[in-house]
């Protein structure tokens, strides 16, 4: 017997199997997505994975991540810092490598628990590392590929995914995907993938999806995220986080833990006219000339 390094793609398959075994042991519902979980008709050999992806029933995410930690998985990136969508946390295990634990799919706006239930109700099973793993139904997999392509800034891989999931399908498949996107409230993200965002001019998330599907500057992203925020409070939170008012620094200056109001004040104080111009851009007002 010879000790050899473990092939990355084999390790990712074992990661899926390890996570599935953990889920079964603790009664956790999860769906394996992308990479080796993809149906053969949607996967491409030239698209290797770098980690294992799973979607966990949202209500069970805290319990599941606790079980992960108890079994040697170490948190690398939490939900809040993982992406603008705060959709996934990343964990690493010395044996199995990386797993992305999704609590939602970016683009699906339906209540996360309800969305998971709908995906779960149509699930199938695929063998990964010779272990049966629950996966979304074939057409849900195609939709997920489309939604993923919608936030890939027009990359080559995204275009190929879209080709397999959408363009290579027949009219029935495309009709079903559109209907499913409506059901899951993912029409805008799907429109972004398909270059149809102009059909959603009034949607508050359209600018964000345009940024993620086509690219743009950091300012474009920041403005789009503010527009997409559902409440005024959320908009202020994004404004503050996005331009990096440092809470610890503010506390030192103020001599106490800063309130949200104080953080906003510091933010506008720091960025002055530039901030007003940007806020004007967000709200559609023009900055006053001085």
């Amino acid at each position: 017997m010879t000790a050899v390094p473990i092939d990355l793609q084999a390790r990712i398959r074992l990661a899926h199997a390890a996570v599935q075994a953990l889920a079964e042991r603790h009664g956790i519902d999860l769906l394996h997505v992308k990479g080796p979980a993809l149906d053969a008709t949607l996967s491409r050999p030239d698209r290797p994975s770098s980690d294992a992806d799973v979607l966990v029933r949202p209500a069970q995410v805290p319990a599941f991540t606790r079980h992960l930690r108890e079994h040697g998985w170490r948190l690398v990136t939490d939900f809040a810092s993982g992406s603008a969508f705060e959709h996934a946390a990343n964990y690493h295990h010395d044996h199995w490598g990386y797993v992305d634990v999704h609590r939602v799919f970016p683009g699906i706006m339906l209540d996360p628990d309800e969305a998971f239930e709908r995906l779960w109700s149509e699930r199938g099973t695929t063998l990964i590392a010779h272990r049966p793993c629950p996966v979304p139904g074939l057409l849900d997999q195609a939709l997920v590929l489309c939604l993923h392509a919608a936030r890939s800034m027009g990359g080559v891989r995204a275009a190929r995914d879209l080709e397999v999931a959408w363009h290579d399908g027949d009219d029935d498949r495309r009709r079903w995907i559109r209907e499913r996107a409506r059901e899951l409230r993912a029409e805008v993200a799907l429109a972004a993938a398909l270059g149809e965002l102009d059909q959603h001019p009034d949607d508050r998330t359209a600018a964000l999806w345009r940024f993620y599907s086509e690219g743009g500057s950091r300012i474009d992203e920041w403005v789009a995220r503010i527009k997409a925020a559902p409440t005024r409070r959320a908009r202020i939170g994004i404004a503050v986080r996005g331009l990096g008012v440092n809470r610890e620094f503010a506390a030192m200056e103020l001599g106490h833990e800063p309130s949200r109001r104080e953080l906003v004040g510091i933010f506008f104080g720091r960025f002055g006219t530039a901030s007003r111009l940007l806020v004007g851009r967000v709200t559609g007002r023009r900055g006053r000339r001085t």
């Binding site: 017997m1 473990i6 092939d7 793609q9 084999a10 074992l14 042991r25 044996h95 590392a129 272990r131």
Partner: protein, 92 residues
């Protein structure tokens, strides 16, 4: 005659695109994974097909282009090791 099969808590992968046969097997969820290459991978891949020790020895001998008697001892010892690691279970 003793038979072999993959233990119920084991995941395994045959590694593609390698010059020599290769596979990785592990008990899940905790591992550790065992990387198998060359003769050890041939024995594993022969064992997971099922059957008894004679079947496994014959498959390995065929793959190696040797007489079963030549490889029998090494194959049986390695099968015992895989059982001890909890990767295979015995039947019969």
């Amino acid at each position: 005659m003793t038979g072999y099969r993959v233990a119920p808590d084991v995941a395994w992968v045959q590694v593609a695109h390698t010059s020599a046969p290769a596979a990785v097997a592990a008990r899940v969820p905790d591992g550790p994974p065992l990387a198998l290459q060359g003769p050890s991978a041939v024995i594993w891949l022969s064992a997971v097909e099922g059957g008894d020790a004679t079947d496994v020895v014959d498959r390995v001998a065929l793959a190696a282009g040797e007489h079963p008697e030549t490889v029998e001892q090494a194959v049986l010892e390695f099968l015992d090791d895989l059982v001890a690691r909890g990767l295979l279970t015995t039947t019969g």
